[in-house]
Point group: C2
Chain length 345, copies 2
């Protein structure tokens, strides 16, 4: 097999940032040469990237802070994140040319994968390939593990989901409905609210930006209180939810996208509710629940094929669109899971 | 038996308050007449109060707020709280004259007890009677249930206790030591720090008022981080603890005495740590764990009699001292569990 040398367009992380990520924090580098060859003895393999995933957690890698669960990016080098890719050349017996894989890859057209244990083979099963960074990827697994393992859901529970049309929230709400819960989602545009009510099957949804008082909004949708709050945002919504939790309520703290910008100098004031109402508030990361991953894939694939769940994606075309797509997450520009299509399958 | 009429000194709740309780929010009423007689058919009984307990949660009953787990006091009427008392007259077959009881009673010399299911009989077993509002009462049970049921303690865990010499904290720390943990307490005077290190057996203790940076103090005592934070105070200590928790850490939220005064307008900023470090933060009330109460009394009485735990009380003499004793809780004036002795046994 001839080992081609190709041009490899890349998204470069320019340098550490303060506040929310901007499109200009990254730049496109063209003209890099890349040899489609996994070096002998390396155990590595080479992929052509098909889909890249824009996830809020990447914000944490754009700061020079080593106390987090992922190390920071190196200024001047290529961004990385979850993706779906096709193997072109391999020195690893577990991955063969032609295989489809999902997991950690570079924000570039071609990648040499050396940390091969951060990728899984994708079995061909008629699911859209991009779902392996969404419904069947990290966000979907976050929703699945978070809802079933952290929220202690019971039939009839009243559930609030924030960032509800996002990559994680949309699945949490649908799983909660399937579980027999009453589910209300909050989102930041009327388009998203429509989506939640008319496509994703939420019982109710509201645009938090149009609510002068979040506390009043929650009292309107939850006159008897909230059993489960699946928190993707932190900040003012968390504070309002605390006031409206029922006794023995559960708050799954999945993310605090509103806090990435440090836009909440006031902090959270209503934690005293934790005591009064015996509330459990649990932060979690999906990678704590890897033992459930096989069951997750089976369950969610099954539900999807039975038409019991849907998944909304926002797909941008071309690697060049990745910086804007990623920055857009922090202003809620995306409708559904934000994906970048780098190449056709 | 002759039914005496006695003078009944009382502590009256004057009216709803804002901020921390002051001695002048209560007043002593003398000259009330009280008939030592449980009305026939009432199922009630009459007690002579011996010890009254000053507990921070009573602050919640001094506000006109009905959303809490206890209803507010009625302005102009007698305060109530936990106490130890002797039955003088009874129309209830379960309580006989001469019986000692503990539970909810009035802040007065004599009380007619109508809600008899809020009291338990005290079995004579050589334990100091006042302990039935402390070590063997609500605070002790809070420590016991909170430590064993909420903190998920493991041998070798590194444990931080705030308000560590208080009614709850001092027992939490001792139970943690018995469990094989490394235990550090924070308190607000050097006298309390001495007590923690030299009498209560904590590994380390510090005066939070002398620490310019709580984060730095915690890093000094927990260079590898905190597994369990038993939080009695909320506020700045909670924020600093969040920064220093280990992965999968547990925070038992028992009380937020620093928040009763609304002295923390800045709120809590570091909740993002819950996600990063998969921290569980659990508010709780001891009355959720009543099924453990018999075991609690046996365990703690046993440990006390074996000399494995001690209990420090701050006993004020006379009902007249109750308002100042209670108000003193909020400035940390008490050293150990604050009790008021109303009468000799």
């Amino acid at each position: 097999m001839e080992k081609a040398v190709v041009e490899n367009k890349q998204v470069i992380f320019k340098g550490y940032i303060v506040g929310v990520p901007k499109e200009t924090d990254m730049e496109i580098r063209v003209g890099s040469k890349f040899k489609v060859e996994a070096p002998k003895g390396s155990g590595a393999f080479v992929v052509k990237n098909l889909y890249l995933s824009c996830d809020p957690y990447l914000r944490g890698r754009m700061r020079d802070f080593r106390g987090s669960y992922v190390p920071p990016f190196v200024p001047g080098s290529v961004m990385e994140g979850f993706g779906v890719a096709r193997v072109l050349d391999s020195d690893n017996p577990n991955f063969k040319p032609g295989d489809l894989v999902s997991g950690l890859t570079g924000w570039e057209e071609y990648s040499l994968i050396q940390k091969t244990d951060h990728l899984r083979k994708v079995e061909q099963n008629d699911m859209p390939l991009s779902y392996y960074v969404g419904l069947l990827g990290m966000p979907g697994f976050t929703a699945y593990a978070g809802f079933y393992e952290v929220c202690s859901p019971e039939k009839g529970n009243h559930v609030l989901v924030s960032a509800a049309s996002g990559a994680v929230g949309q699945l949490v709400g649908q799983l909660a409905k399937i579980h027999g819960c009453y589910v209300v989602g909050s989102a930041g545009t009327s388009e998203k609210v429509d989506l939640l009510k008319n496509k994703l099957g939420f019982d109710e949804a509201f645009n938090y930006k149009e609510e002068p008082e979040l506390d009043a909004a929650l009292k309107r949708y939850f006159p008897k209180g909230i059993d489960i709050y699946f928190d993707n945002v932190g900040g003012a919504m968390l504070d309002a939810a605390l006031l409206n939790m029922r006794n023995h309520g559960r708050i799954a703290v999945c993310g605090m996208v509103s806090q990435h910008s440090q836009s909440d100098p006031q902090g959270i004031h209503n934690l005293y509710c934790l005591v009064q109402k015996s509330i459990r508030m649990q932060g979690f990361l999906q990678h704590n629940y890897q033992h459930l991953h096989v069951r997750f894939l089976e369950d969610i694939t099954g539900l999807y094929k039975q038409g019991k769940i849907v998944y909304v994606e926002d797909v941008n075309e071309g690697l060049e669109s990745a910086p804007a797509a990623f920055a857009g997450l922090f202003s809620g520009k995306n409708v559904g899971k934000q994906v970048v299509r780098v190449a056709n399958e």
